[in-house]
């Protein structure tokens, strides 16, 4: 047990503070190899993580790095540095604290490697980069403890897998390294503990007092939510009232686009000119920094934000959290609510704002789940091999290695503990030669085996390219947006390349809450001018869309079965009643399918309630079969509860389409060809190092230096169908984006009971799907026919068709 230095105890006493029980427990277990602390935000969690470090460093004897603190956010690392500096100075403890992120200047980074501080605050990516240097052993000499903050968030992503592989490397360098994880409330603490601890070390789980039950309700508005859409513009007056009635309000949105629209509308309604900011991941760093700083100063009354504020900074003054749009996932909702009122003994206050009437139902179901403490979670499966490939390359950057040693090291990370040696070898082979059936790169292998059996980089200059491409965060291709000035205008943020391509000069769009006019593209930067008025376009961001969890979906289905809905507002109850009159309501043990004509094309709506990803897969599977049947499907759109498909031909006999066995058989053939797989491939191939996002000669002009990853994918499928990258893509897609598991669950649930209804027009429940973003075009015979028609029209209209060439 660690004894607290008198300076530390005096500091607590001088402030009339007592050490929280969980902080004491962390001190008691300071020597354990791994400890997981689960505590609500505001419970002195960070201090609990650092107390043992302060105790051990208090005597000033320790040389070099002692504690590494890892957070998923750069901003958090910087914030903790400030928050830690104050008590450490007040306790007059002799220690150096520094942070290191992508934003740290090169000179300071260099100094940190040669002469590290006692406490280094960093991110998974910066840590991985540190381990890639040949002097890593010297940098980390003496390291005692690592504190992983917000580990519940990291454990859900490849960033966490990357972190754990980096920790495995550190544990090799510093065998006595002790690990501490700090987590918000989660459904399965044991899984996080296994993720944190070195395999097979044990890891004790400490639960801090969760604090009072949150006060959470649906926002009451005079106006009813619309039938469809995600903007929740109807709620603006009511939200404005709430902002006025509270000190500081965080207004969470599920997507960046929705946050932009909402902020725009809120601003138009802001008659009292209250200070309101916007914060999301596509905004320029300067802009985000400015909003965060204003927040810390307490200058803002409200912040419209996305998941970018799910974690991190302690905003002391936040006394209300508003969630716009259905929360999709009860666990995340609970964590978001925890962002309000960071003092330990007041209940967090939160309001849910459904964006449309279906979401009223979803919010009601989520409220009930929160009250019952029914958190949802899905197991993640074994460690992803694309991350493993990247870490083999990172290891090679640090110096030659024996395959046996690296295998032993990597399988000490919990997620990779069951990795078979053959799979590791395949990853190594991939890194060395590309791992192709055709041996083409004998001369140009990336890794070579030396006479002593160790592996090393063929060309030491490759380290630069590997480091440039390190990381697992997948950005879609984005373009920077700047104000047009004679010399480099102010950066406003980023938009996706696909959206930028739809703009023509003069178009206006929203970014960072301002309306700007597209002027042109220069040096791969979108130049804009400020411009008010005029209906702006909405930039699309294909950021992560979470699927409604299985638990929440099933609660919604159950709710729909009620004879009447006294627990729902009238407008929503009436709507459900209307659906029941003109069609049916979906049932847990049956599959409802509606068929109706709409806007020239026949439509099908399939209510699977399997979550967005699985409904999307269902769309792909069904359209594939419709294409084969000559029905010329044109596209589909999926939401969490249904898939809608439209095409050129009316479906006369839909029964064979929904033959479940055939769907399952079709998965294999179909799986290879669809856009979702190609997107997964792009991600895996980028992480594994096959595709480089950054090259020393960065893209400078409009000329596409490389061809699309789709071509690589198609080529591999044709000539090397068993290639490792395709295996990884498949594994990935099946559990993440494809989520076939939930289709199978749905099939089991309905037991072959399919109700197909032919209806004269679109139904109340189907209508919202028409306004969904993310329609997936089917590039088949139907599209070719339309393209042909449009090309002919364009030639005719322009007069070129009659022009002799």
């Amino acid at each position: 047990m660690t004894v607290l230095n008198v300076a530390i105890t005096n500091w607590f006493t001088s402030r009339n503070w007592t050490i929280h029980p969980h902080q004491k427990m962390m001190l008691d277990r300071a020597d354990d190899p791994a400890t997981l602390l689960i505590a609500p935000t505001g419970g002195g969690k960070t201090m609990a993580g650092f107390l043992p470090t302060l105790a051990e460093l208090a005597d000033g004897q320790h040389q070099g790095l002692h504690t590494l603190y890892i957070s998923p956010l750069k901003a958090l690392a910087a914030d903790i540095k400030r928050n830690l500096r104050t008590p450490v100075d007040e306790m007059d403890l002799p220690m150096r604290i520094d942070d290191r992120t992508g934003d740290t200047p090169q000179s300071r980074k260099k100094r940190q490697r040669a002469d590290p501080p006692h406490i280094l605050l960093t991110t998974p990516e910066s840590l991985a980069l540190l381990t890639s240097y040949d002097d890593a052993a010297r940098t980390f000499a003496g390291l005692q403890r690592v504190v992983v903050d917000e580990i519940h968030a990291l454990a859900e992503s490849k960033r966490g897998d990357q972190l754990m592989l980096a920790l495995a490397r550190l544990q090799t360098l510093c065998p006595n390294l002790r690990r501490v994880g700090l987590s918000a409330t989660v459904d399965d603490p044991q899984a996080i503990a296994q993720f944190l601890a070195r395999h097979p070390d044990s890891c004790e789980i400490l639960q801090a007092d969760p604090g009072p039950t949150p006060d959470i309700q649906m926002l009451e508005t005079t106006e009813a939510p619309p039938w469809a859409g995600g903007g929740a513009a109807y709620s603006i007056p009511a939200v404005m009232q709430q902002i006025k009635a509270h000190n500081t309000t965080l207004i969470f949105h599920n997507t960046r686009a929705q946050a932009e629209i909402f902020f725009h509308n809120l601003w138009l309604a802001n008659e009292d000119a209250l200070p309101i900011g916007i914060h999301h991941g596509s905004l320029g760093r300067e802009q985000r920094d400015r909003v965060e700083a204003a927040m810390v100063r307490g200058d803002l009354r409200a912040i419209v934000c996305t998941g970018s504020l799910d974690l991190g900074l302690d905003w002391g003054d936040v006394d209300l959290v508003i969630q716009i749009g259905a929360p999709k996932n009860v666990k995340r909702l609970v964590q978001r609510i925890g962002r309000a009122n960071h003092s330990y003994n007041t209940p967090s206050k939160a309001l849910l704002v459904p964006a449309n009437r279906f979401e009223v139902v979803e919010c009601r179901a989520a409220l009930e789940a929160v009250r019952e403490g029914d958190l949802d979670g899905e197991a993640r499966g074994s460690g992803p091999r694309d991350v493993l490939c990247q870490h083999i390359l990172i290891a090679a950057c640090a110096g030659p290695f024996h395959a046996d040693d690296l295998f032993a090291e990597m399988t000490s990370a919990g997620a990779f503990a069951t990795l078979p040696r053959a799979e590791f070898d395949a990853c190594l082979e991939f890194c060395a030669t590309g791992g192709y059936a055709l041996k083409a790169y004998d001369k140009w292998q990336r890794l070579l085996q030396r006479p002593d059996g160790r592996w090393q980089l063929r060309d030491p200059r490759a380290t630069q390219r590997i480091r440039m491409n390190l990381g697992t965060i997948q950005d879609t291709d984005t373009l920077k947006v700047r104000l047009k000035r004679s010399r480099g205008g102010k950066p406003l943020g980023e938009i996706e390349e696909a959206f930028a391509a739809t703009l023509t000069p003069g178009d206006t769009f929203l970014i960072g809450g301002q309306t700007v006019r597209y002027e042109g593209l220069r040096d791969m930067t979108v130049e804009v001018k400020r411009r008010s008025g005029k209906m702006p376009k909405i930039a699309t961001f294909s950021g992560t869309k979470f699927a409604t969890s299985t638990q929440l979906s099933s609660r919604i289905l159950t709710l729909l079965q009620q004879d009447s809905w006294p627990n729902l507002p009238n407008h929503t109850a009436d709507w459900l009643m209307l659906q029941r009159e003109v069609s049916k309501l979906p049932q847990p043990n049956r599959l409802l399918i509606e068929s109706f004509p709409h806007q020239d094309h026949p439509h099908l709506c399939i209510y699977g309630f399997a979550g967005r990803n699985a409904q999307q897969t269902l769309g792909l599977l069904l359209t594939k079969r419709m294409e084969e049947m000559g029905l010329d499907p044109l596209g589909f759109v999926a939401t969490d509860y249904a898939t809608m498909i439209w095409g050129l031909e009316t479906l006369t006999d839909p029964e064979p389409l929904f033959d479940i066995a055939a769907l399952r058989d079709g998965l294999d053939g179909w799986l290879g060809e669809n856009a979702v797989m190609k997107r997964s491939f792009r991600g895996c191939a980028t992480i594994a190092g096959l595709i480089e996002r950054n090259t020393p000669s960065a893209r400078k002009n409009g000329r596409q230096a490389t061809f699309s990853s789709d071509i690589l994918y198609d080529t591999l499928r044709k000539y090397d169908p068993d290639h490792l990258m395709l295996q990884i893509t498949r594994t990935e897609a099946l559990r993440g984006l494809v989520d076939f598991g939930r289709i199978e669950d749905m099939i089991t649930r309905i037991q072959g009971n399919i109700d197909l209804l032919h209806l004269p027009r679109i139904t109340p429940l189907a209508a919202p799907l028409l306004l969904e973003m993310g329609k997936v075009p089917i590039k088949g015979a139907g599209l070719e026919k339309l393209l042909e028609k449009e090309a002919a029209e364009l030639m005719q209209k322009s007069g070129l068709a009659n022009l002799p060439q």
Partner: protein, 216 residues
């Protein structure tokens, strides 16, 4: 044969959906920018080890066009190889495949900026190749007529679909890149929009070639 037929300086030509050009009167097939050996060059220059199948794939598509048209002359409009040493480093099987194709008909290699001198391959080597009323060369020249060239890898967009495209005006035709691992340049890029006359059209490749007013 699905193709888009058009005249250029009096010659009747057909743009094939594959990105190849066919000239029925001469029974001539023309392709541009094959970039064979690209993955080898990529790895050699410190890049990653891309799937090394693009040469096979490009040759397979070329053979399919050759079989379909039964052309007795083939013109490769330059940048046929990603560079000269990529040409030399091709695996034997792929060199044999090229030799086999080239022995079936008259084969003309135009030199490009990537491959000034692809040696030791069957066929004739030319800087440019006139065949009245047309002239075949790698990079378009100003103030010409009846010119067929490549080099720019043009692409164009219709209804959100971007595809490699032929660009055509009264004086010249620019072919899309035929090679499997080739990127593209939008027709709206100044390099192309200033080169092509105002009434130029773009012929999108794909299952059926589609002509549209060239996007600028």
């Amino acid at each position: 044969m699905t193709g888009y037929d058009f005249p250029l300086s009096g010659a009747q030509l057909t743009a094939l959906g594959s990105g190849a050009l066919y000239w029925p009167d001469q029974n001539l097939l023309c392709v541009s920018d094959l970039h064979l050996g690209k993955s080898e060059r990529h790895a050699r220059r410190g890049g990653t080890t891309l799937p090394p199948y693009e040469t096979q794939e490009t040759l397979a598509r070329l053979e399919a066009d050759l079989n379909q048209t039964q052309a007795n002359t083939v013109i490769c409009l330059g940048d046929s190889f990603d560079d000269d040493s990529a040409a030399r480093a091709l695996p034997e099987a792929e060199k044999d495949k090229i030799a086999d194709l080239a022995s079936r008909c008259r084969w003309i290699w135009i030199t490009g900026n990537h491959d000034p001198a692809p040696a030791n391959l069957p066929g004739e080597l030319h800087d440019s190749f006139p065949l009245a009323p047309l002239t075949f060369r790698h990079i378009a020249e100003p103030d010409t007529s009846g010119e067929v060239s490549g080099h720019y890898h043009p692409k164009a967009k219709l209804r959100g679909a971007t595809r490699p495209a032929f660009l055509l005006d009264q004086h010249r035709l620019i072919l899309p890149a035929y090679g499997t691992y080739t990127g593209g340049l939008r027709s709206s890029d100044p390099a192309l929009s200033t080169l092509m006359a105002p009434k130029a059209i773009a012929i999108l490749t794909g299952p059926r070639p589609l002509a549209i007013p060239m996007p600028r």
